[in-house]
């Protein structure tokens, strides 16, 4: 999927992927897409919850073994 920035949160456990994601999103402009890479199993539910609560669109999720790739568009 097309992206404007990428954030590697592999090896990070809850709550760090979400804390890192929130910080990183502040650097993006409206409409830009961030790829978040995480391997915390909790991220599977946490990232969609963060997106719906903050109003940023989750465009897609890809899973490759234990690794998740989330594509989030800045509102």
């Amino acid at each position: 999927m097309d992206k404007d920035a990428s954030l590697d949160a592999k090896g990070q456990m809850c709550p760090m992927p979400i804390v890192m994601l929130a910080k990183k999103m502040k650097e993006l402009k409206s409409g830009q897409v961030l790829e978040l890479v995480a391997d915390d199993i909790g991220a599977k539910e946490d990232v969609p919850a963060w997106c719906s609560r903050t109003g940023n669109a989750l465009l897609g999720v890809e899973q490759d073994g234990k690794i998740f790739r989330f594509y989030i568009r800045m509102k």
Binding site: G11, M13, P15, M16, V19, L21, A22, T54
Partner: protein, 134 residues
């Protein structure tokens, strides 16, 4: 206006240190305004240089759990506290508990505010999420 989350922490053990910090940093990252009120034994968690231990006999295993957390990239309470303050999480010391526990304003970590029950309840009354951790 941002949604509010309030927590009351009444115990000063390692696990009680971690829970409000994990939930507080996450809520702040979700755009919520977070207020954490420390009372009774919880107050110790706001004092400078405090190193919380697991409760009861488990305290002997605090070093082990800290090592395990570090190995798994889980931030320790002192690191989480810094992150929480950076994210704008508000930490409050209960004024009455300070007298009971013998804690003075000079003992408190930077960024901690002293409040009474009424001021805290004023915040809690408007909060969507209110949790008691103790």
């Amino acid at each position: 206006m941002a949604e509010k989350m309030c927590m009351v922490v009444s115990e000063g053990s390692f696990d009680k240190a971690m829970m409000p910090l994990i939930l507080g940093t996450t809520a702040a990252s979700m755009g919520m305004e977070v207020h954490v009120f420390y009372t009774f034994f919880g107050l110790k968690l706001l004092t400078q240089g405090n190193k919380p231990k697991l409760p009861g006999m488990m305290r002997l295993f605090t070093g082990m759990i800290r090592k395990k957390m570090a190995k798994n990239n889980i931030p320790l309470p002192e690191e989480m506290m810094k992150t929480a303050l950076d994210l704008g999480v508000n930490f409050y010391a209960c004024s009455t508990s300070m007298t009971i526990m013998g804690v003075t304003e000079a003992d408190l970590m930077k960024g901690v505010k002293v409040l009474g029950a009424s001021a805290f309840l004023n915040l809690a009354a408007d909060a969507k999420v209110n949790l008691f951790i103790g």
